[in-house]
């Protein structure tokens, strides 16, 4: 495979038509946003967003803020890695937030500890036989729940030909129902110490970035990746060139489901609780990360690197708003504007490149 092929479904692109990879544009946007926050910070707060302006750290950076920028997007970012692959096949996954909610409740029920501060666990879901289980049990349960939900999504999309939007909308409602039914809305809390390790400190970031590297390699250097781009670029052509499209779609949705399940495990571990409302609208946050990162909702175009940068952009904006103490009411308005603006800019860029050809 040649190094010029990524992002366009295995076809090499004409260098005269595109000057640099799309990811560079996204990265440029990230730098621009950081610069804007630095300028506003210098004017209004007398502080720096990313740099250590108060001499609190050994390095020149505000390490705490660098960490939280990534931590706060890592869990949704893991979902976004799967959603990116789904969108590249020209599909969509609206169920990931709800699948996370359902998986959180179910997996956490297998991670509970028997004694809390010397008292029996007030939130125990099952009998004593299910308390203090080894950490591998809730992890496997979590991944399993996600994979099952993903396979159902994939089968609906691939074999019954229900549009992905509808199929995963159905799963979104169904899984949220499961999440609420599981313990009739009661939270599930107090996990074992080993379970609590999974999401502690920088662990979500390490897992997110490792998976990002893994899926970047998979998408660019394996048959799986080539087929995913091929299906999204032109499904009919992909089918005629011998790709088993339905089977591949099931695999893609199953991976997306598994990543949602994994996020549930990390999120419940980070928070030491599972709640039926967890993951609400995470699917939209994940889609936003992918879209900001240059993944096209029409399929066939986009990359894992783009999505990771998209996630970091959301992280910088979130921290930047808090840093500027922007009123809570305005944050969502500005964020909405930024998402639409990013895609509009990307579209304009695409058109310009295309018209140059």
């Amino acid at each position: 495979m040649s190094d010029t092929s990524h992002g366009t479904g295995g076809l090499s692109y004409d260098k005269t038509k595109r000057q640099w990879p799309n990811e560079l544009n996204v990265f440029g946007a990230l730098i621009l946003i950081i610069v804007i926050f630095e300028i506003l910070g210098a004017i209004f707060m007398g502080q720096s967003l990313l740099f250590d302006s108060k001499d609190r750290f050994d390095s020149i950076f505000n390490e705490q803020r660098l960490r939280i920028i990534i931590i706060q997007v890592a869990i949704v970012g893991i979902i976004a890695l799967g959603v990116t692959q789904v969108i590249i096949t020209a599909g969509i996954d609206l169920s990931s937030g709800s699948v996370l909610g359902a998986t959180a409740m179910i997996a956490m029920s297998f991670a509970q500890i028997s004694i809390v501060n010397g008292d029996p666990n007030p939130k125990a879901i099952f009998g004593p036989a299910f308390l203090d289980l080894p950490v591998i049990v809730p992890i496997l349960v979590g991944l399993g729940c996600g994979i099952i939900a993903g396979i159902v999504n994939g089968m609906l999309v691939a074999y019954s030909r229900i549009p992905p939007f509808i199929a995963t909308l159905g799963m979104m409602l169904f899984a949220r129902g499961i999440a609420q039914w599981w313990s009739s809305g009661k939270p599930v809390s107090f996990p074992t110490e080993s379970y609590a390790m999974i999401g502690r400190g920088m662990m979500p970031v390490i897992i997110f970035l490792s998976l990002a590297v893994l899926f970047h390699l998979i998408m660019n250097y394996t048959v799986y990746g080539k087929h995913t781009y091929a299906i999204g670029s032109n499904e009919a052509a992909a089918r005629m060139s011998g790709i088993n499209v339905p089977r591949h779609l099931v695999l893609v949705y199953a991976i997306a489901g598994m990543l949602a399940g994994l996020s549930a495990v990390i999120l419940t571990s980070k928070n030491l609780t599972a709640q039926s409302g967890m993951g609400l609208s995470y699917e939209l946050d994940a889609i936003a990360m992918a879209v900001i990162g240059g993944v096209s909702l029409f399929g066939g175009r986009g990359s894992i690197i783009g999505t990771v940068i998209g996630a970091v952009i959301i992280g910088v904006i979130t921290s930047g708003f808090t840093f500027l103490r922007l009123g809570a009411y305005y944050q969502e308005m500005v964020l909405g504007g930024i998402i639409v603006g990013a895609v509009a800019l990307d579209q304009w860029q695409q058109k310009r490149v295309a018209s140059k050809a």
């Binding site: 939280i68 008292d119 809305g185 980070k270 709640q275 409302g277 979130t318 808090t322």
Partner: protein, 312 residues
Amino acid sequence: MKKFILAAGLTALLSTTAMAQQIGVSVARFDDNGLTVMRNGMTDHAATLPGVELQMEDATDDVAKQLDQINNFIASGVDAIIVNAVDTNATEAMSQAAASAGVPLVYVNRQPVNMDTLPEGQAFVASNEIESGTLAAFRMCQDLRAQGKSGGARAYMLMGQLSNQAAVQRSKDFEDVIGMDMCNFITLIDKQTAEWSRDKAQDLMTNWISSGEPFDAVFGNNDEMAIGAIQAMKAAGISMDDVVVGGVDATADALVSMKAGDMDVTVFQDLAGQGAGSINTALKLAKGETVDKQVFIPFKLVTPETLDAFMQ
């Protein structure tokens, strides 16, 4: 003779029925945790009152079904009706139905939209939402004073969804308290929404910590957000002895956190008390006594000293 015994028996039966107080209760939904506590509060309280019988119905979150239940109560001649409204905007029809039949009606827990125009013989029993935030904030103010910080203390506030009445009210209560002479040594550094969520609160608190501003207190509109803030502070190595953290709800997780010495203040909404209070109010109305249109069941402050009473 047989006839006489039968007649006597019937009379006795009728008279006991007449003596007993029948109260019809329609609860929005049986599978809601909070409402279940309230419902059990009603049943337990009724069991201690001789001659009071409850007929409890589940409205399964269906507005039309709830109105049918109320009309059925009226048709079967209950002495009073208690309604925990499915939709507080749909209470006008219920009030009219009960008023025209002359049956006393008590709304519980959820405030009816026609609160200001409630007919004679109707009342609303609940906790006064203003109390919850105020109780927590005032106690936090006292704690800060006790720590010798009355020269100046700085606080962050985590708010619930901005569209939510309780979030707006509790935030306002906190700001009102720190505007009082006794507590105006507290300055609010920043307030942001974490949407009632522990996870969002954890991230928001870490963002605040990363700005390096010193602070002495964190108030969460609910316990979940307060716990999220505690987890963030602990992860950043801040000693929980130096920061006063308050929340609202007295959830099981919050009580455990308080027992561990992390959470300092929370507030308990006495739902069982609301249930019992609604029955007392209904009985008074059935006897023709006048009651206040709004009957308030007080919130209860939970602190490390009073904690044990709230842990089961």
